[in-house]
Symmetry: C2
Subunit: 125 residues, 2 copies
C-alpha cells in the first residue's frame, strides 16, 4: 500500500505545515477569501486552492460564494479527533517532566553537598 492520501483524515490533512498556517490564519480572521490567504502566505494561488481543497475534503473548512470570490471559514470541531488523541497522553509527559525536575533537584542538592570537585573537565549536561 502507498501512503494514505492527505484527504483521508484530519491527521493527514494537518501534517502539512502550510495547511496548519491556513487554519491559523482563518482562526484569526474568522473569514477570508482565497486571495487574502494567497497574500498572507505568499504562495502561488493554485497551491493555496489545492490546500484549501484538501482542508475542505476533510471538513476542516467550509466555503461560501460571495460575489466572485469564495470565502473560507474554519470548522474547529474537526480538530477534536486529534485533540482527543494527544490528550490521552497529557499526564504521561507531565510525569516525565516531574521526573526530569526531580533529577534536576537531586543534582542541585549534590552540587551543594560536594561543590566544585575537580573532575574530568567534562561538565554534566
Amino acid at each position: 500500500m502507498a501512503r494514505a492520501p492527505t484527504t483521508s483524515d484530519v491527521f493527514n490533512a494537518i501534517a502539512e505545515p502550510r495547511r496548519r498556517q491556513i487554519i491559523e490564519l482563518l482562526t484569526q480572521h474568522k473569514q477570508l477569501a482565497v486571495g487574502a490567504i494567497v497574500l498572507a502566505l505568499g504562495l502561488p494561488q493554485p497551491a493555496v486552492s489545492k490546500h484549501l481543497g484538501v482542508l475542505r475534503e476533510v471538513g476542516l473548512v467550509t466555503v461560501s460564494k460571495q460575489g466572485q470570490s469564495r470565502v473560507y471559514e474554519v470548522q474547529h470541531e474537526q480538530l477534536r479527533s486529534v485533540y482527543d488523541w494527544v490528550k490521552m497522553f497529557e499526564r504521561h509527559w507531565d510525569h516525565q517532566l516531574d521526573r526530569i525536575r526531580a533529577r534536576a533537584e537531586k543534582r542541585a542538592l549534590e552540587q551543594k553537598t560536594q561543590p566544585d570537585l575537580p573532575g574530568t573537565g567534562v561538565e554534566p549536561v
Copy 2:
C-alpha cells in the same frame, strides 16, 4: 516539492494510524519488544520495524537492547508540539458547541410554543 517525509516531524509521523496504534500499545505496556508489537498488531515484522524506525527518527520512541530483542518505549513529551497546536483551538470548538446547543434549545422552545403545526411534511433536522 513532494510531500514531506514521514520522518520530517511528529505531525507527519503520527498521520499513519498504525504508528498511532504502536504509541498506544507502548503507552499501555510501558515497554515492548518488537515481537510483542508484531503479535499485537498482526502486521508483518518488517512493517513494524519500519514504523518503529520512523517513530525513532522523530524521537517518539527510544530503543534499548535486551538480549537479542530490542525493547521500545514511548517518549510522550514529543507529542507536546501537536498538543500545543490543537489546544490553541480548544475554546473555538467549545464555542461552536455552545452555539449548537443554543440553537437546539431555541428550537425546543419553539416546539413548545407552537406545537404540531401542519407543515410541509418535511421534518427539520
